[in-house]
Amino acid sequence: MIYLLVLFPLGMAAAIYLVPSNRWRPWLIPAGGCGHLGLVWTAIYSSAAGPPLSGLEGWLILDALGKVVLGYLSVLFFICSLYAPSYLALRSDRPNRVFCANLFGSLAMMTLVSISHHLGLMWVAMEATTLVSAPSIYFNHNPRSLEATYKYLLIGSVGIALALFGSFFLAYSAHKAGLESTLLFDQLVKDAPRLSPPWLHAAFVLLLVGYGTKMGLAPMHSWKPDAYGEAPGIVGTILAGGVTSCAFLALLRVYQICRAGSEAEFAQQALVGMGLFSMAIAAIFMVRQRDFKRMLAYSSVEHMGILVLGIGIGSLGVYGALLHMINNGLTKGVLFLSAGNIHRAYGSKSTDVVRGALTRVPWSGALFLAGFLAITGAPPFGPFISEFTIATAAMNTGQYVAGGLYLLLLGIVFLGIGATVLAVVQGTPPEQEQPRSYRDSVGTVAPILLFMALVLLMGVYIPPPLESLLRDAAAFLEQSGKP
């Protein structure tokens, strides 16, 4: 069963690659997305009571944390897959064979990251997500997307090479302590109190920088505006919602080992500092940002900062961060896909040209506006609940400085995004010499509406099964900290 979770999307990738028709191929994407969702659903509920699913002698285990991440990834991919056929129909000028196959390639690798309990295997899968998503960024085959792809690949590969170095240091810290050197997660958590402290310390720093680069935490975020700015909206959603969440999961695994070992305090401080720094950098670049897709990339930097901040704050903040991972991803779906539609309708992503989106593409414009309200933490949407939870956690645990800065930065970001989004949606559309053919249609709007509905649902009512999964995952993360 657990193998099927990875093999099914790989099989879909191969099948899609073999379909000859550029026109019919995209229709396999929703089928595959639906199939994966079904498999994940079965996997999560069949192991609700009893031992977790496992495979490869403990290398693969679907634990509480993995269930949250995998379940969320599958939903995110499914909704994106509904959007894919209409998008690719609009782009029928471009061959989409590699693009479609790579979507499933990244789904398979993201799934593998979420069930890996071997840090080496997890690294291989994480690096593979970088590699398979690179050609999708180059989908438009123009100089700008080429530049973005090169930067994404090189910075991503170098960053993640450091994570490999850090993983080796982690194994060495066991070796140095006279234990059998291993990269098996469960073994490392168990041995954590006995690991050699200097090597564990160095390992944490390297792994934070490495997986932090993949997450796009400042100051390793420089690839993000370029890649998200040039990639198609659907790729942006999968990168900003999926791949970054996988990197976050990888970081959580490392954090758990450090927490159980001698590095708990240092790790927490590093995460809080890194989180606030990312939020600050994002806030600076979001104010007066004229390119609305680059603005979304900085918003992603900001929210990755919020995630690690929540983990660093601890206690209720851990639950808040996990909830926020889901809320952020779903809202990013709304924003990236609607921004993609607006980009299509105007042929530009600069607020110098794009005005009056509410008039020209009413649905996409309205959803873009609603997505903005949600992502900046306005009630009654999901992100409000999770951002509020993290703020409460900071105040409850007496971390007033971090909590205060967090709220201040959220305020600045609200103003920064607000100015750009309002410039896009309000006003009268400019006259265009050759009117562009894009108009909102069911296929390009309904998936965004579905994302928006989920964001709203998460704000007013978190379904009890999800709630209990999240509680389990937060407890799973917290428990290892106790000696």
Binding site: L121, V124, E127, P143, L146, L154, A161, F168, S181
Partner: protein, 215 residues
């Protein structure tokens, strides 16, 4: 065995300097290929009872690092019709000096590291740190995309070398996975380099400056 291993690593370190000092791209590719082969042999000297899997690993490493990646890069270089790194951000003399300083520091630093008992005398850790440093140097100071890819390979070689200390922790499957990832990475980067050349009629990354914040 240990002396032979040290000899091998000293040659591999010398290759670092060659990579820093030479501007002919073809020669740098050969240097990195040689280093790959040397590193591929290392496990044979480090662990006496490798078994079949170990032998396969040695073969795969040498095949990928010593043959396939270099051949592919030479192909990409020919396509791009580019021979020299003519104006690096830091000249070859200065980068040699920086490389030497880095290697010296790596040697000093590793003697202070809390290494496990039987590994204090080995050159592996300093050699690995020095390769990582050289890789970073090439990544940041070279303008030609293909030279940056070679820098990435040096960095990866350094990390691979450190991994050799951890036979139990880094099993066969993971080693091969890592090698495949690196190979695919270089493959995709090579294709991108080819496209950069076609698009800009040059593989200098100084043309890649369209994407930045507007003032």
């Amino acid at each position: 065995m240990a002396q032979l291993l040290d000899l091998l690593l000293i040659v591999a370190l010398a290759v670092n300097f060659a990579a820093l000092g030479i501007s002919r791209i073809r020669a740098v590719i050969s240097a990195v290929a040689l280093q790959g082969v040397l590193l591929g042999i290392c496990p044979l000297l480090l662990h006496s009872d490798l078994g079949l899997r170990g032998i396969v690993l040695v073969a795969v490493t040498i095949l990928l690092k010593g043959v396939l990646i270099p051949v592919f890069l030479i192909h990409a270089m020919r396509e791009a019709d580019i021979q020299h790194e003519d104006k690096p951000l830091v000249g070859s003399m200065s980068s040699l000096l920086l490389g030497a300083v880095g290697t010296g520091l790596a040697l000093m630093f590793s003697s202070t590291l809390p290494l496990a008992k039987d590994e204090t005398n080995l050159l592996i850790v300093p050699a690995s740190l020095s390769m990582v440093w050289t890789g970073f140097l090439m990544l940041t100071t070279r303008r030609k995309a293909i030279m940056q890819v070679l820098g990435y390979l040096l960095l990866e070689n350094g990390i691979y070398l450190f991994g050799l200390l951890l036979l139990e922790a880094v099993p066969f499957l993971v080693e091969v996975g890592v090698l495949l990832d690196v190979f695919t990475g270089v493959f995709v980067l090579g294709i991108i380099v080819y496209h950069i050349n076609r698009e800009f009629a040059s593989i200098s990354t100084e043309h890649l400056t369209n994407l930045k914040e507007e003032p």
